[in-house]
């Protein structure tokens, strides 16, 4: 499912073109790591953000993002994005929502596209944070599309055709986060919201 989500969200919702600039939040997550690799395969410049130094290293060294940064080290997200995208962002693949989306809106280029895939920063808030910079959608004619993977299963054949050879050739790789035993599941679930996992959080109930 993360693979199809990344595939449908990036190729169908974002319509990438060679040379475009792509930003991915929660980029070491199961979806984000694939989006970044699809962006590289499409000839885009791609920057990812994550919440630990280890994840940032993974983005740069294992997943071959052009740049990556730890958003927790950035007191000013707008300034951070301007540093990595001095000419702005064509495509934002949003996994987090909230303040990050607000900062990205200040940095979108004309005719940019935002795929709203998840808003994990908001799920546990009683009242979601306000997003203030939506005027940028008008000024830059940005297309913001929320999507659910369930609507795109007709693409499953194309997805396999693209991804399976790329995995065999080593052009796409992935990392999963495996918790051993059902007794580890609650901690793993809580860990998702603390950003502890790297890639898809899987619970192995039994190896038998």
């Amino acid at each position: 499912m993360p693979g199809m989500t990344a595939y449908a969200g990036f190729y169908e919702v974002c319509s990438p073109k060679k040379g475009e600039t792509v930003y991915v939040s929660a980029a070491s997550g199961a979806v984000g790591q694939l989006v970044g690799q699809f962006a590289k395969l499409s000839g885009c410049y791609v920057v990812g953000s994550a919440g630990t130094k280890e994840k940032v290293d993974l983005l740069k060294n294992k997943f071959c993002f052009d740049e990556a940064f730890n958003y927790k080290d950035e007191p000013d997200l707008d300034a951070a994005l301007k540093r990595y995208f001095p000419e702005g962002i064509d495509i934002y693949f949003d996994n987090v929502g909230g303040k990050m989306l607000d900062a990205v809106l200040l940095n979108m280029r004309m005719n940019g596209r935002i795929a709203a895939c998840g808003m994990i920063s908001q799920y546990n808030l009683e009242q979601p944070e306000g997003v203030h910079n939506l005027m940028s959608l008008i000024m830059n004619q940005v297309h913001l599309k929320g999507f659910l993977v369930f609507n795109y299963y007709n693409l499953y054949g194309k997805f396999l055709e693209t991804v399976l050879p790329a995995i065999k050739e080593g052009k796409i790789t992935y990392v999963e986060d495996v918790a051993e035993g059902l007794e580890g599941a609650p901690a793993a679930l809580i860990g998702l919201f603390a950003g502890n996992n790297v890639g898809k959080q899987v619970v192995v109930v039994s190896r038998e």
Copy 2:
């Protein structure tokens, strides 16, 4: 320009289908009044909101909206929208942004479309209001597109082909708000933000 804005925003950005439900804010404005009439021509159910009783009457009686309401009389915008759209909104043509957009987000239907045309409620605020309900974009797979009319002038021929006969046949009408004399211009400009105008605010400098 309002005509082209309404035309491009409604037909190109919103892709209306017969029988869909359409909501227009600032509906007695120069753009809104045309969007509502285009929606009727397309076989849609259309509701508009405005800020005075006179404007609401105009929407219902002159522009033939199915329903119209005064948003200033509604302490709970979400409840008002649920009253007019018990099954939700397919298309929202947004001229105001802010709290209205937030309430609409709670009422969008699956695969709905929002054309972000203007955010007049926000222009004079030092800090724009926060929009909190963007998760709805994901849950309902909504497409939100900011647009500027300048990008759609290639449609000018099609626009004239659609609109001129409809005006001649009396299927489309419009109202302008004329201020006489250049000395009336500052008050007319301020009036825009107080919602005093009905339709396009025009200043007639001289009748000679």
